[in-house]
């Protein structure tokens, strides 16, 4: 038996109407591939629900859960510098049956506010799947806790069993993170970058380009040091959504605060980056001057291609990139992409179709399929992108390209090229 895969050509041919059911986590048992292991938080890789909830400045989190849901956080929060910001209210069997734990939450919040040397201004309550089944009304409980404790109490939901629903956990937590923003007088010079919990690279072209057209107040939750700074995000003229998982939060802000949003995609193909900036400028009624960065990115790419004319890649999914978009870009640059280890969604089909047009035999492996147990390292791969891809090709050079601080645009591409250069 072979691990399940489709070639890019097969994938593209099947399209949305015959989208492979193997890509759905609910289709079969799930293999704990290196990619699925990154769900931990504050944990092994990136931002999960718990760490993301703590993106609100001056906040702490109370995780209300059975022991097994919080075990990893206790251990890793110390490593990640969150040890003073995570608190736990463990549930027992009686709690599960009676919902008794909900009555304890206001008391727990009072304890949290009283004890630490530095009093938190926000307590984020995080509940888990068991409360989803119990139908817990956390908003009501948070209001009560807020009245009793005198600090903001924010509801958040780590509902792993809703991963395939309309509001999966990482979508829901983004709504929670921005839920404290209140309506303020509009500032035409203010824009919020929504999507990530850490900031974008300091040298990202967005900042100087935006300032040049008068958008001088560029705010991201990852750069906000205090709650007051965070609350200033409420004056933004519009939001720029840079991660599709933030759409729900952006919709909420539009509804609550009348704050419109525009969505951008993270591309690694310089032509697409340029086109997207042009479209954004058109929507805003301005013209972004990206000439300098576009030229720098093209020059860096040319130099890299000259030095490394032939590279074969395997691309994973624990990346600061959409693995399909990135693969399509690499193919366009003239490189080979032998394998992609990632779970595709129908939204990825345009990229997969582009891959199919350039490299129909590229194999796309479903990382969660139990058959991945049988994967044998075959073929020649020079570079793996993503830590998970390195698991399958341990002898190839690896570029994890997975950091909290986010790459974007031309500077994102240049960073990728630099990191690849370092391992070649």
């Amino acid at each position: 038996m072979e691990p399940f895969y489709l070639t890019a050509a097969e994938f593209a041919r099947r399209g949305r109407s015959d989208f492979p059911k193997e890509e759905s986590p609910s289709h079969a048992l799930i293999y704990s591939s290196p990619a699925t292991l990154s769900y931990n938080s504050p944990g092994a890789n990136g931002y999960g629900v718990k760490r993301a909830g703590l993106a609100i400045p001056e906040s702490v989190m109370l995780l209300v859960s059975p022991g097994c849901c919080g075990r990893n956080s206790t251990i890793l929060s110390r490593v990640s510098g969150y040890s003073d910001r995570m608190f736990y209210l463990l549930m027992d069997e009686t709690d599960l049956v009676t919902g008794r734990h909900l009555k304890k939450i206001p008391q727990a919040v009072r304890e949290i506010v009283e004890v630490p040397e530095k009093k938190p201004k926000v307590v984020v309550i995080c509940i888990t799947c068991v409360d989803a089944l119990l139908g817990t009304d956390l908003v009501r409980i948070c209001k009560k806790a807020e009245q009793e404790s005198g600090v903001h109490v924010v509801p958040s939901y780590m509902y792993a069993l809703m991963r395939e629903g309309t509001k999966p956990p990482m979508t829901a937590i983004r709504q929670s993170v921005y839920s404290l923003l209140e309506k303020r007088p509009k500032n035409p010079h203010a824009v919020n970058l929504l999507g990530q919990f850490a900031p974008y690279d300091d040298d990202c072209e967005i900042y100087p380009m935006f300032r040049k057209v008068g958008l001088t107040k560029i705010r991201e939750v990852g750069r906000m040091k205090t709650l007051d700074e965070y609350l200033e995000m409420g004056e933004a003229n519009f939001n720029l959504v840079l991660n599709p998982e933030t759409r729900y939060a952006a919709d909420d802000l539009m509804e609550r605060l009348g704050m419109p949003y525009i969505e951008m995609t993270r591309f690694y193909d310089p032509d697409r980056i340029a086109k997207q900036y042009a479209l954004l400028g058109g929507a805003l009624g301005v013209k972004f001057d990206d000439t300098k960065w576009h030229a720098e990115a093209e020059a860096a790419l040319s130099a890299f291609r000259e030095k490394h004319p032939e590279i074969t890649f395997a691309v994973g999914q624990t990346l600061n990139a959409n693995p399909f978009e990135l693969s399509a870009a690499l193919l366009k640059f003239g490189y080979r992409v032998e394998r992609i280890f990632a779970n595709a969604s129908p939204d990825d089909l345009p990229f997969i179709t582009r891959i199919a047009n350039m490299s129909p035999e590229t194999r796309i492996y479903t990382s969660i399929s139990p058959t991945m147990m049988l994967y044998k390292c075959e073929g020649s791969v020079d570079i793996t992108l993503g830590k998970d891809a390195a698991y399958y090709y341990p002898d190839a050079a690896n570029v994890p390209f997975f950091s909290d601080v986010q790459p974007f645009g031309y500077t994102g591409l240049m960073r990728l090229l630099r990191e690849m250069e370092e391992v070649l």
């Binding site: 038996m1 986590p25 609910s26 079969a28 048992l29 799930i30 293999y31 704990s32 699925t36 292991l37 990154s38 769900y39 931990n40 944990g43 092994a44 059975p66 022991g67 097994c68 849901c69 919080g70 075990r71 990893n72 206790t74 251990i75 890793l76 110390r78 490593v79 040890s83 608190f87 736990y88 209210l89 463990l90 549930m91 027992d92 069997e93 599960l96 304890k104 008391q107 727990a108 304890e111 949290i112 004890v115 888990t128 799947c129 068991v130 989803a132 089944l133 119990l134 509902y159 792993a160 069993l161 809703m162 991963r163 395939e164 629903g165 969660i368 139990p370 058959t371 147990m373 698991y391």
Partner: protein, 435 residues
């Protein structure tokens, strides 16, 4: 009393214990819960994950299937995976979600077994009890696979078309226990052999013993003492070996995880057992004596290689040990008999400890404030490093003994080997000048 936990962790959960105990044995082991619940086990509690393949999967329970109690989906997924991978056995356990909706894992197991004709176990875990309960259940279940007389575990197994149960077929393939003319079974005859007594080591998983060579050291020590080591449940051994270990003269239970399997083997095969970790020179001698005595004649009795804790020892304890109970008992005994320290208190804050262990006086204290008080009132605390967070200004009183079941793989490389005289040396080194 404060209800919020601020600094402490929780012990590895029962469903993780099932997976850990069965990891190396070629079975299909499935945690039934939402996708992602497996990652804590894989990343924190399973040091073998990246170097040794195992058919451990998560079912990826969805909201819809949970609300409608759709067990058919789980059964279907298990059967499909079994047909793809041909495992030696199948085990299914759950976390809090199946517990709240009342999933009957034993019924699921029966349905799967009927369709696959592969022995299948369902464990009623809940993600809230400790690994001791889950791993203990898993090893106990393996005893039922051993060739020999039927025991009543999860009710009568279903017959297949040929009139044989999956379990019966499995045992048959593993090799039945045959009787000779005198009515003695092979097991009896083997035990009568005059060679070195054969001992099984029960209750070793990385959660308690890490991957630091402790298990290999255990085997070597027993062999040096004149025993043959039959099998090691369940690290560094294979299923066939385990299942053919009913001819052992005696079982040695080296952690609370092994107790249920020992009791099951005693019930089925009459193999006596000794509870105790051969750690510390004098404790080892005592355990070896007990093993010899049991191997020679005794049957059907349980011997504890440690004295029960009395309330006096708990009050004004010089030393507090927080950790796995059987290991803690060995440390306490060594401190007493080799170092003259009698006031040692043991706290084992895990859910699901067997009664036999609790009766030895391992207290179960879980509230953070109570544990802080216990640490504060002791002169020294031997515990996982995470416990030192309780008294950040008194870290010097803590003697670190990392425990994978508690702090996961974070201190994995610092877990000492405490087998035999190594414990004496560790105590001398760790507590130099303080005893």
């Amino acid at each position: 009393m404060r209800i919020v936990k601020r600094v402490l962790s929780t012990y590895s959960a029962d469903n993780f214990g099932v997976c850990s105990a069965l990891y190396e044995l070629g079975g299909l082991v499935v945690m039934h819960d939402a996708s992602g619940c497996n990652s804590t086990y894989n990343t924190h509690d399973e040091p073998r994950w990246y170097n040794m393949d195992s058919l451990v999967f998560i079912s990826g329970l969805t909201e819809k299937n949970a609300i409608f109690g759709n067990d058919d989906k789980l059964i279907s997924d298990l059967v499909t995976a079994a047909h793809e991978f041909h495992p030696r056995f199948i085990a299914v356990c759950g976390g809090p979600l199946p517990h709240i909706i009342g999933t009957d894992f034993r019924a699921v197991a029966k349905a799967v077994e009927r369709q696959c004709e592969i022995p299948t176990f369902g464990f009623q875990t809940n993600g809230m009890d400790s690994y001791i309960s889950g791993a203990g259940q898993a090893l106990e279940a393996l005893v039922s696979l051993m060739p020999g007389e039927e025991i009543d575990t999860a009710g009568p197994a279903k017959e297949n078309n040929s009139g044989e149960t999956a379990l019966g077929l499995f045992r048959k393939n593993t090799g039945p226990v045959k009787e000779n003319i005198s009515g003695e079974t092979t097991v009896d005859l083997l035990r009568k052999n005059t060679g070195p007594a054969k001992v099984n080591i029960l209750g070793v998983t990385p959660l308690d013993f890490s991957m630091n060579g402790s298990v290999e050291e255990l085997r070597r020590l027993l062999e040096r003492k004149g025993f043959r080591v039959g099998s090691t449940w369940a690290m560094g051994d294979d299923l066939d070996h385990l299942l053919k270990s009913a001819d052992a003269s005696v079982n040695l239970v080296v952690s609370a995880v092994g107790l249920r399997a020992a009791a099951a083997m005693e019930k089925r095969f009459g193999i006596p057992y000794v509870i105790g970790l051969p750690a510390g020179k004098k404790v080892t001698e005592r355990i070896v004596d007990e093993l010899r005595r049991k191997a020679a004649c005794d049957r059907g009795h349980i011997e504890y290689a440690a004295e029960p804790q009395n309330p006096e020892q708990c009050q004004n304890a010089d030393i507090l040990i927080i950790g796995e109970p059987v290991q803690s008992l060995a440390i306490r005994e060594t401190l007493s008999v080799s170092f003259g320290t009698d006031h040692t208190r043991i706290i084992s804050p895990m859910h699901g400890l067997p009664k036999e262990i609790i009766s030895l006086g391992c207290e179960k204290v879980e509230l953070e404030d109570k544990l802080r008080e216990a640490c504060a009132s002791s002169k020294h605390v031997i515990a996982d490093p995470l416990y030192a967070r309780l008294l950040p200004n008194e870290r010097d009183k803590f003697i670190f003994l990392p425990h994978v079941a508690y702090s996961g793989r974070y201190y994995e490389n610092e877990v000492p080997v405490l087998i035999g005289e190594r414990l004496d040396r560790w105590i001398e080194s760790a507590m130099a000048g303080n005893l």
